[in-house]
Amino acid sequence: MSGSAVLLQFLNGLSGASALFLVAAGLSLIFGVTRIVNFAHGSLYMLGMYLAVWLSARIGFWASVPLAAALVAAGGAAVEMLLLRRIYKAPELFQLLATFAVVLLVKDLALWAWGPEDTLGPRAPGFAGAVEIAGRAFPQYDLLLIGLGPLVFLLLYLLLTKTRWGILVRAATQDREMVGALGVNQKLLFTAVFMLGAGLAGLGGALVIPREPASLEIDLAVVSDAFVVVVVGGLGSIPGAFLAALLIGEIKAFCIGLGYSKITLAVEFIVMAVVLVLRPWGLLGRPQAAMRGPAALEAPLDPPSGRAVAALLALFAGLAAIPAFTTGYTLVLLTDVLVFALFAASLHFMMGPGGMASFGHAAYFGLGAYGAGVLLLRLAAPMELALALAPLFALAGALVFGWFCVRLSGVYLAMLTLAFAQIAWSIAFQWDAVTGGSNGLIGVWPAAWLASKTAFYYAALLVCAAALALLWRLVFSPFGYALRASRDSALRAEAIGIPVRAVQWAAFCVAGLFAGLAGALFAFSKGSISPETLSVPRSVEGLVMVLLGGVQTLTGPVWGAALFTWLEDSVSRGFEYWRAAIGGVILLLVLAFPRGVAGFVRERIAR
């Protein structure tokens, strides 16, 4: 590449970094003060794009940008006042779920308002041309963006350091309760911060419409990019977000410029990995000491009583008897329930006893599914072998990703799992030769002796029951105890000789392995695999199942999986806006049972 081409790619990277910075800065600000990781931040960005495209056809581009940003800010304020205010005291995961419900609602809102097609915005009047830089043409508008990023950074910096409001925001970032006790109205402060953050995301979205079309897929792509930026830069650090946005923006530009657009994610991943190994709390972030540790009052977990074991055995016998009564769709649905029960239980293993919430657990489910497909179709392995070996693909993924994830904790860990899942999804989506790209793999059928619905149902029942029994056994083994000890108090666990990270890493791998097994079963039950299998919504479904059943119960995930699978099946069949419907269900769950269904039931019983 010549010198001038390098310069141009560099400039390209700078302009891309500007929008990324706006989104990440907003995410960081909101998290700092409210301690809520706003999953819907990418959706606000997407909304900014659609609104700007729509408005610019009516009032012109330049008027549409600030108006779109203002509308998104107002929308953000509405979300904060109507939804988040009710759940600030709810468990962290419920907050994340609530914002994910907003993702689903906004996506269907955009689908309803603007349709499924990508929508191109206008060029910016006055900046439609190009300037010559080092003998090459460079869009004027991109130059404008390059200037805008640092300008917004400067303004934000001044706002946070030179105004009383900014000082209050920084104080609240550290200790919001204390700020309240000193006479500051937190409600107003939270709403204002959320508005500012949402406005920044909306502005970022509105500003990129001359460069990129608005599409319905942009929300999760942007939010996972923003997560990467925030984790690399250091959560809560605006200068960190700026630096990281530049870094990620440049990487993207150079990979695309060199014609290696497909390895962009891999390079991003490597950069993130290097940063996290050298500075686990990000480039300019601070150690997480200030964050409150995991709740000291985790509920005790007792081994299942003899009666509970008997009930589970009876349930197993009941399930084994079902094919005698029906062979139709019910069996297919029940097979789904079994597969998702195992998936949810594997997630529960790392979330409950492990205290590590994953927002990307579908990655391991998907790796198992794709592993099965690839073994069967590309390597011509027999189905039985493919089913047995496929979980190892998930294990390999968990080994690599988990090594990084266990270096973080709490929401940082959740964000990183999401970023990894997004990477896995992109690879599956892009690697046509192996994964079939966006079409996925078809013809992943079980061996002849398992081809009937009944036979496969029995296979699934046996495998899932055995796997669940093993997982539950693990929880009460010394290893499971060491895992719980590491969750309760990492400090104390280390101080009695428990290698906390190694234990958590092992648990991460166990969870990945069992999710992979569920994924492989899922692939054979459907006969096909699509990238949806490891998409973020699938990960969130797993979370909903676990939370529906209750994190602090052993068998909860199984009941949660059954309830959710049944619910989804009855809601989603033939309904175009099924995402919004699921989002509505999640919101209902979060608002009606802010302490979790299990917590609700327990409180009721205690009364």
Partner: protein
């Protein structure tokens, strides 16, 4: 000034305070004694609205404040100094004071920044230092100064001598006497009877969430 009656409070299902009744008259320094876990901090937090009372009444200058938000209570002129200091370590000393700043009140002593620095001379040498780089004693001074910046009529002081060197404890006692001289009402939670004996006008003793008869 401050009247508490029939106060019950706790966290979740665990009730910590049982039927607490106490009062602090204008200009008094009142001690709340008891060992760790007796409920001293919870009492102060319940008065401040940080722990919602289950039942009972809290009145500040005759106005009921139980059930109100902490920031509303603070704005009525009741200051709170938490036990573990909780200064904003990322902010400078001057910024910490700015967070606590409230408009002057006609019926309470006013604490301008000069005033505060005169009361805590150590702070004047480190206005631009970040809170995280101060010693424990300096942090405790800043924590009190930050609350005084809100020009309170009364303050709740939670274990100001806890974990401090004997020499700094001396200074802390001096500060409390200075507050009394200025006319600020003080409700002081302490473990050390030796300390409260020097600064308090009278005291209550808490044990397992209940007040012992005087």
């Amino acid at each position: 000034m401050l009247e508490v009656s029939g106060l019950n409070a706790g966290y979740g299902r665990a009730q910590v305070l049982f039927d607490i009744a106490l009062e602090a008259r204008r200009g008094e320094v009142v001690a709340l004694l008891g060992r760790n876990g007796a409920g001293k901090s919870t009492t102060l937090k319940a008065i401040m609205g940080l722990v919602p009372p289950l039942s009972g009444e809290v009145r500040f200058e005759g106005t009921r404040i139980d059930g109100r938000e902490p920031h509303e209570i603070a704005r009525l002129g009741l200051g709170y100094v938490p036990e573990d200091r909780r200064i904003f370590t990322d902010l400078t000393v001057a910024e910490n004071l700015a967070v606590g700043r409230q408009p002057a009140r006609a019926d309470a002593p006013q604490w301008s920044t000069e005033h505060l620095l005169a009361l805590f001379p150590a702070l004047s040498r480190m206005l631009d230092r970040s809170g995280g780089r101060m010693s424990g004693g300096e942090q405790q001074m800043l924590c009190i100064a930050r609350t005084l910046a809100g020009n309170p009529k009364a303050i709740l002081l939670d274990e100001p001598s806890e974990g401090l060197a004997p020499l700094v404890v001396e200074q802390m006692a001096g500060v409390i006497l200075e507050l009394k001289r200025a006319g600020v009402t003080v409700l002081l939670a302490e473990q050390s009877a030796r300390f409260t004996g020097r600064v308090a006008d009278r005291g209550y003793t808490l044990e397992k969430g209940e007040l012992l008869p005087a």
